[in-house]
């Protein structure tokens, strides 16, 4: 799961950083890169220590939700001028998905 989410955010980060397919914000790209990093480091965690992997999934999910909220806010405030670009459009459901996964990870950590 970490690998999957990491790759998704990595792709979005690349889109933003190289300004392709409607990407536009270098810095947002870097933030997404960090987000991908959280998942990737979770993936590279020792397989024997499952809880550490879940820790990365959990924190990554919360960060992802905040990122989605940020994107929605930015879109709302510029409602009149800017249409929702493709990477942002993907970021919103991805953040919600990440958060749902984070809830599962949370239960695993607590158990």
């Amino acid at each position: 799961m970490n690998l999957l989410m990491g790759t998704a955010y990595m792709l979005l980060a690349v889109v933003h950083m190289f300004k392709i397919y409607g990407g536009y914000d270098l810095f947002l790209g870097m933030v997404l890169l960090v987000e991908a990093g959280i998942y990737f480091f979770g993936f590279s965690e020792n397989p024997a220590e499952e809880k550490r992997k879940y820790a990365h999934t959990y924190v990554g999910g919360i960060m992802a939700l905040w990122l989605s909220i940020y994107v929605v806010l930015k879109w709302l405030i510029n409602l009149s001028s800017a249409e929702l670009k493709l990477p942002d459009l993907l970021l919103i459901p991805l953040g919600i998905l990440a958060f749902v996964i984070a809830r599962v990870a949370r239960r695993r950590i607590l158990s």
């Binding site: 870097m30 933030v31 960090v34 990093g37 809880k51 820790a55 924190v59 930015k74 405030i77 949370r106």
Partner: protein, 564 residues
């Protein structure tokens, strides 16, 4: 009467404070807070048992929901009215310590009405206060004092251990919550810790400046329209000019900040209530230690790149007063976004090809000066001792909406009340200086006269009276420098050519540095005053900034003169 608030889940430190307070007085209430969290974690507290051990009333509350607060208030009234006459519960600190407490309290000669036992304990623990309230102090062997104070702390902790063992049951409070461990693992991760911090700060930055900007623009537009409306309806007399340009624009200058300030505090509230802020300080501490500061000031300084006002306001989260003061004093050197238009204008005119490099130079030197100032101020004010980083990392919590709104409102209100009045006052002065004497153009206004008067001071730097006047106007807000330069150098369209003709590149470059460092804007000065609580520090910031700017500009000018 004293109410000691104790965290129900980690009571040790709070109980330690309670024991210290009980040494002084008996009319104490113990408030066990956050009992919802301890219940959720599976910890049971026997309130009666705690009350029996400490001899005080114990009230359980949940501050975030307000649960138990009425009962706490009732208990406060009850204790106040009944005034317990019995002396506080006596905690035995062991034979040796008690012997010395007896001995010292008989030797202490104190005019004020403090319990002898308490004074003796404070004396053993080397408290400054005892020196102030007592005339005659016994001499004591420093080794013995050290031994006794250690024993005191040990005994207090022993008493607390007993209390917790008897009153607490269920889950071991000494074990950390698994979720906290998991979050800490990622947020302070060896490779991820710093990138995550920077990403979060970037989002806060965006929230405060990007998302607030349309709101701020909206307010600014409204103010402009209002001013226009007043001018149109009242004619162009002095009264209308005063109301529209002095009063309304002055209020506008305050209001324009409001969205930024409130959103900043919303973001800071989320970071603080969730418990991330101390972790951020923990993660960044090593870097700030080089400046003899702690990681706490890093967040504030970063915010300064947007605007110095929220940067200084955010120093509230720094608990150490020394560190807070230094952070406030050095914040103005961080290049805020209002300075950018001035930089862009000047680099655009004089160094069109190398504008990017010049901007980079300015930004890096602004960071450098901030660091050097931190060290310098530390040496000057606190003799170079670094700020310690001893802090308790709180549990992670989900911020509540109520808490956030309260946080945002109380801190935002403070800005409006304290800084707002000063900004308003300052913009009136600027209005006065640029309008009077009546019926003259800007070149003959008091401001211009003032500029001409001050100009000899700036002559070594090669600035004429027009630049000097613009700099004076720039005190209202740095971006005003651009419009005043435009006015004084022949109006829109022509002033760029005029500037390029009258200034040589070296002078222009030194001007960049001067603008970077000289007087922060009035708003910043106002918050320096309201946050430090003294005019002294505001004046200090002013003079220090001017001195640094002058020296820097002179250096650039001389070096530039040599090189070209």
């Amino acid at each position: 009467m004293v109410v000691v608030v104790v965290d129900a889940l980690n009571p040790e430190q709070g109980l330690y404070l309670l024991l210290q307070v009980l040494e002084l007085r008996g009319d104490v209430i113990l408030n066990l807070n956050a009992v919802d969290e301890s219940k959720k974690a599976g910890v049971n507290v026997d309130v009666k048992e705690l009350s029996k051990h400490t001899g005080v009333h114990v009230v359980e509350t949940v501050a975030v929901t307000g649960e138990g607060v009425p009962k706490l208030l009732d208990t406060i009234v009850h204790v106040y009215e009944t005034r317990p006459v019995h002396s506080p519960v006596f905690f035995d600190y062991g034979e040796k310590v008690e012997f010395w407490i007896q001995k010292i309290s008989s030797m202490l000669d104190c005019s004020r009405n403090f319990p002898g036992r308490w004074l003796a304990i404070r004396f053993i623990e080397d408290d400054e206060l005892v020196n102030r309230v007592c005339e005659k102090l016994p001499s004591i062997d420093p080794e013995l004092r050290k031994e006794l104070s250690l024993e005191l702390a040990t005994q207090r902790h022993k008493h607390i251990d007993v209390m917790i063992r008897e009153a607490y049951s269920g889950r071991n409070t000494r074990k950390r919550l698994p979720l906290d461990e998991a979050i800490d693992h990622v947020l302070t991760h060896r490779f991820l810790g710093i990138p995550i911090f920077l990403a979060i700060i970037y989002l806060v930055f965006q929230l405060t400046f990007e998302i607030a900007q349309p709101l701020a623009d909206f307010i600014e537009n409204g103010i402009t329209h209002l001013a226009d409306f007043i001018t149109r309806s009242l004619g162009s007399g002095l009264v209308s000019s005063f109301i529209s340009e002095g009063l309304v624009e002055g209020v506008g200058a305050v209001l324009v900040f409001t969205p930024n300030i409130f959103l900043l505090f919303l973001a800071m509230g989320i970071l603080e209530e969730s418990g991330y802020l101390p972790r951020a300080a923990f993660v960044m501490d090593r870097i700030m230690y080089a400046m003899k500061l702690s990681g706490r000031s890093f967040v504030s300084l970063i915010l300064g790149f947007g605007c110095n006002v929220p940067a200084i306001l955010s120093t509230r989260s720094i608990p150490d007063p020394k560190e807070r003061l230094i952070t406030i004093m050095i914040s103005p050197f961080i290049t805020c976004s209002a300075r950018l238009p001035v930089y862009v204008l000047i680099t655009g005119i004089f160094f069109p090809e190398k504008a990017g490099t010049m901007l980079f130079l300015i930004y890096t030197s602004s960071i450098l000066i901030t660091g050097i100032s931190a060290l310098l101020l530390n040496r000057m004010l606190f003799k170079g001792s670094p700020v310690p980083l001893i802090m308790e990392l709180p549990r992670y919590r989900r911020p509540t909406l109520k808490g956030l709104i309260l946080y945002m409102w109380s801190k935002g209100k403070h800005f409006l009340q304290k800084a707002g009045t000063i900004i308003l006052f300052a913009s009136m002065i600027i209005w006065f200086l640029s309008t009077f004497p009546l019926g003259t153009s800007m070149e003959d206004s008091y401001a211009a006269t003032l500029g001409k008067f001050v100009q000899p001071l700036l002559r070594p730097l090669g600035y004429d009276w027009k630049i000097t006047t613009s700099l004076i106007f720039g005190m209202a807000a740095k971006e005003v420098v651009v419009s005043s330069l435009a006015n004084l150098y022949g109006g829109q369209g022509k002033f760029m050519d005029n500037l390029a003709r009258e200034l040589d590149p070296v002078t222009a470059f030194s001007l960049l540095f001067f603008i970077m460092a000289y007087v922060p804007c009035f708003a910043t000065l106002a918050v320096v005053r309201s946050e430090t609580g003294s005019t002294k520090w505001m004046i200090f910031t002013l003079i220090y900034g001017l001195a640094v700017a002058y020296i820097l500009a002179l250096m650039v000018k001389t070096l530039g003169g040599l090189l070209t």
